[in-house]
Structure formats: C-alpha cells, structure tokens
C-alpha cells in the first residue's frame, strides 16, 4: 500500500514497555485480552491519529476478541499485528483478527516449552546447584541469565515481528527453524534434568541383609551395580506416575511422596 513505514521505533518501544504489564488485567473470561489491547494503544494512536471516532472505536474493538498466549511469544504477535494493522486497508481488517487467533495457540505452546519449561529450569538448575553449596552467586547468576533472555526476547520480538511482518511465519515453515530450536532446547533440557536427578534426589537405605553370618549392606550392593541405582528407580516410578495422571494432582503427589518418605524413614528403610 505504502512504502514508508508509519509506525516509528519509538512506538514499538512504547509497546515493549507495555508488554511488561500484560497480565495485570488478567481474568478468567478473556485472559490477556485487555492487556493485549492496552499494548496496541501506541500503534492504533499512530495509525488512526486523524481517523474519525467510529474508525477508532472499531479499530480497538478488533482487539477485544479473546487473546491469550505466552508473554514473550506475545511480543512477536504484537509486532506482526502492528505490521498487518498498518499494511491492510479498512476492508481487509479481518486478517488482523484471524492472524492473532491463529498465532496465539502455537506461539503459546512454543513460548511455554522453550522459555518456561526449558530455559527457566536450566537457569534454575544452575542456580540451585550453586545455592545448595551455600553460594550466593547461584540466584544472582540465575537472575542474570534468565532475564537476559526474558527481557531481550520481548524487546527483539516486537521489532522483529513488525519488520518481518507476515513472511516470518512463511519463512519459519520452510527452514524448520522453530523445530530446530526446540530440538536443541529439548536435548539440553533432558540431559540437564537427568544430571539433576542424579545430583539432587537422594534415595539411600541403611538396611542390612544377613546371609550365613555375612552381612550385606543393601546400599553398597546397589552402588556396585550402579551408583544412584535406587534414585533412578525412584525417579522413573515418579515419572510414570506423573505421566499416568498427565501432570494433574501434582500437589497430592508431592504430599504423598512426603508422607511415604516419613513413614519409610520411621520404619528404618530409608535414611
């Protein structure tokens, strides 16, 4: 439609600051909708500066459709939405609504699995490993490396999403880039977690079996087969339980493990 971009860097920066408070108006009916609409204010103010009242009301109403996604991925959707708002004519505005609705699902899954369930736990594991040794660098390091990514992605995605507009989606389809990033994150994630189970979960037993005047320490016997063997068995059984319930009843599971731990300790099976 027009080659000169109307939306300035300053507008996008203003969106970036507003992203920081997206969940403030969170509620169970429309989730992040008001938050998203409030992020669009600088964009709509710029694009419909001289428009009549009706167009302005209609423009904002578009963004009162249900919206919910992972916040960092939401930054990318905001950037793309801004680009589409600018590049479409008044009669093509359905594209804005459908694009948002189409992107929020997959992006939420991607954002959650990459940031919340991969990067955050990696940072948390590194931090916790230091903190368990009583080293204050643990939480500091965790705060820095997590938030470098957290804040940078929000800033970068708004600008990148706007500059690339729609073709980012097409591009990512061709080059598998999203699939590749999540592959990388997945491998690092499971290896770190495997190591973490070995180093933090401790199952050891003081039991002694007497056979023909010889006493065998059960723990030593298992350790000869494989160090942390009991830990692995325990962790795997917890994993299959969690998988059976599909991640539900976690609080009950934690409480159950706690009670079982206490009982086995009192019975002298674990120490």
């Amino acid at each position: 439609m027009n080659s000169v971009n109307k939306i300035t860097k300053k507008d996008l920066n203003s969106v970036f600051w507003r992203i920081q408070t997206i969940p403030f108006s969170y509620n169970y009916e429309k989730l992040q909708t008001i938050g998203f609409a409030h992020c669009m204010i600088p964009i709509l103010d710029r694009l419909y500066k001289d428009a009549d009242k009706e167009t302005r009301v209609r423009a904002m109403k578009r963004h009162f459709e249900f919206f919910n996604t992972q916040v960092n991925a939401g930054a990318l959707i905001l950037g793309v939405t801004a680009a589409i708002e600018e590049k479409t004519d008044e009669d093509e505005k359905d594209a804005v609504v459908s694009l948002k609705a189409g992107l929020m699902g997959p992006f939420a899954g991607l954002g959650d699995s990459l940031l919340k369930f991969t990067w955050m736990p990696i940072c948390g594991s590194i931090g916790a490993a230091f903190a368990l040794q009583g080293n204050i660098i643990g939480p500091i390091l965790m705060f820095i490396i997590y938030n470098l990514v957290n804040i940078f992605t929000k800033y970068f995605f708004v600008h990148y999403g706007y500059n690339k507009g729609i073709d980012i989606i097409e591009q990512s389809k061709n080059s598998n880039i999203i699939q590749r990033i999540s592959n990388l994150a997945n491998v690092v994630g499971v290896m770190v977690l495997g190591s973490l189970i070995a180093s933090t979960v401790k199952v050891s037993t003081p039991l002694i079996i007497k056979v023909d005047e010889q006493s065998i320490k059960v723990q030593e016997m298992f350790d000869k087969v494989m160090p942390n063997f009991l830990t692995l068995i325990f962790a795997l059984s917890v994993f299959f339980l969690v998988r059976k319930f599909q991640g539900k009843y976690t609080v009950s599971l934690i409480i159950a493990v706690m009670i079982i731990g206490v009982i086995l300790s009192i019975l002298g099976v674990l120490h």
């Binding site: 108006s25 969170y26 368990l132």
Partner: protein, 279 residues
C-alpha cells in the same frame, strides 16, 4: 519480628506485581533468597530456596490453569523456616542439621502455596467485571480510559500475597514453633529424608513434556554422567549443547535425505515419459 514481617510483606507484594508484570523474579530461588536476606540468614535461605526451586521446577501456569502459588509459598517457607530454626536448636536435639530447617521450610511452603492459589483463582474470576468496563471505556474513541481499566487490579495484586505473608510471618513463627515442639522427632527426621525425594516430582512434571521418543537416551546420558563421573551442572550443560548440535545435524541430514529421495522418486516416475518423447 514486626519490622521483618513488614519487610517480607513488602517483598511479597513486589514479587506479586512482578509475577503479573515483567516476570523477572517469580521463581523460589530468587524470591526465597531475598526473603532469607531479610530474615538475616543467607545460607539457610539459599538452602531452602534451592530445595523449593527443584521441587517446583515443572510447575507453572499454563493457559487458564492456575498452579499452586510458588511465589508466596517460597517466601513464607524461607521466612518461617529461618524464624523457627532457632527453636529447633533450642529443643536440645543433638542433630540440628540444615536438613531439618529445609524440611520445615518445605512443609510450611506447601499449605501457603495452595491457600494463595485459591485467593488468586478467586480474584481472577472476580476480575471478569473488567471486560465490559473496558469496552465502555473506549466508546468515545479515546484510548486512554483503557489504561485505567488495565491497571485497576494493581493494588489487589500487591495485597493478595503481601497480606498472607505478613500474617504468616508475624503470627506464624510462634505458632509453628509450638507445633514443631509437639511433633515427634522421628517425623522431623523423616521430613528431612522426604525433602530429598520431593525434587523428583517437580523434575518429572517437567520431563513429561520433554521426554519423548529418542530423548530417553539423552536423559539417561545426563544421569549417568553425574552418577558415574560426578560431573556438576555446568560441564553437563556444555556437553549437552554439543549433543544437541549433533542431534540437530542428524535432524537436518534426515530432512535433506528424505527430500532427495523424494526428488529421485519423481525422476524415476518421469523417465519413462521422457523416453516416450524420444521415440
């Protein structure tokens, strides 16, 4: 204790605003450590926070699902864990290890996290009244009214965790101390044992999403490297990165191969057609 309770409450309020805002703190290791500093014992604060961090590793809000509130849970767990540690020492038990303090902290964190989860669900349901208000606020074509609607919940977010944390820290420690004196020693020791089992739950919830197909081998590799070689977390991360790159290379090679074989299949189909033209 009043000053500490107020400081902890303010910190809980800040963390609460961060949780619905920039989301920079929100994890037990970060929120708990500062609570530990306020309570005047950094080392114990770190120990309890790290245990909670691992225990709640896979917990987070996904979509409209509200998880137990780990923000208030961690702050209370650390604060009261430290506040009651003195009394555990005073009861004359020979083994006043840090594990008991961790166990106390973890035990206290759980009920608080569930209580705050209920409070948050209540407010998030109630806050639906914001939606019609937001629609009305833009009827005059001026968007600034919407900002007011958006920030309406701010004081509620602050208080929703600050108040329970204040009450917990101010009234809780005496109460908790009395309760702890009644609890038999066997149970407290058992809690120490249990606190080493609990991290498995959080890690496994997380693994549920990641552990699919061939990922099992990488999981076992990470476990073995630490079990046999006692490697700490940072070298593991770098080794994992190398394996991740290898996996990515294999993935890409696989893609290219299937693309090439698909192309070859096309050629095979096309050849007879070309021969016909040659004739």
């Amino acid at each position: 204790m009043l000053t500490q309770a107020i400081l902890v409450a303010i910190w809980a309020g800040i963390c609460s605003l961060d949780d619905v805002g920039p989301q920079m703190l929100r994890r037990p290791l970060l929120t708990g450590t500062v609570a530990g500093i306020i309570m005047g014992d950094v080392v114990q604060g770190l120990a309890i926070s790290a245990t909670l961090e691992l225990m709640w590793m896979g917990i987070g809000n996904v979509g409209a699902y509200s998880a137990p509130d780990i923000v208030a849970g961690s702050i209370i767990g650390v604060s009261l864990g430290i506040a009651t540690s003195g009394s555990i020492v005073a009861d004359g038990s020979s083994d006043t290890s840090i594990e008991k303090i961790i166990a106390t902290g973890v035990a206290l964190a759980l009920p608080v996290s569930v209580l705050c989860q209920q409070l948050l669900i209540l407010w998030r349901s109630f806050a639906c009244f914001l939606n019609p208000w937001a629609e009305k606020s833009i009827q005059d074509g001026n968007y600034q009214g919407l900002v007011k609607v958006h920030y309406f919940s701010t004081p509620v977010w602050f208080l929703i965790r600050a108040v329970p944390c204040f009450l917990g820290v101010y009234f809780g420690s005496d109460l908790i101390t009395n309760i702890l004196n009644v609890i038999p020693k066997g149970i407290i020791t058992g809690m120490g044992v249990a606190s080493k089992l609990i991290p498995a739950v959080g890690i496994c919830i997380l693994l549920l999403m990641l552990l699919k197909g061939r990922m099992w081998f990488f999981f076992l590799l990470g476990f073995m490297l630490t079990a046999y070689l006692k490697l700490p977390i940072i070298p593991i991360t770098f080794i994992a990165l190398a394996f991740a790159v290898l996996y990515d290379m294999a993935f890409m090679a696989d893609k290219n191969n299937s693309r090439q074989s698909a192309a070859q299949d096309n050629q095979v189909i096309n050849t007879p057609v070309e021969e016909e033209y040659d004739l």
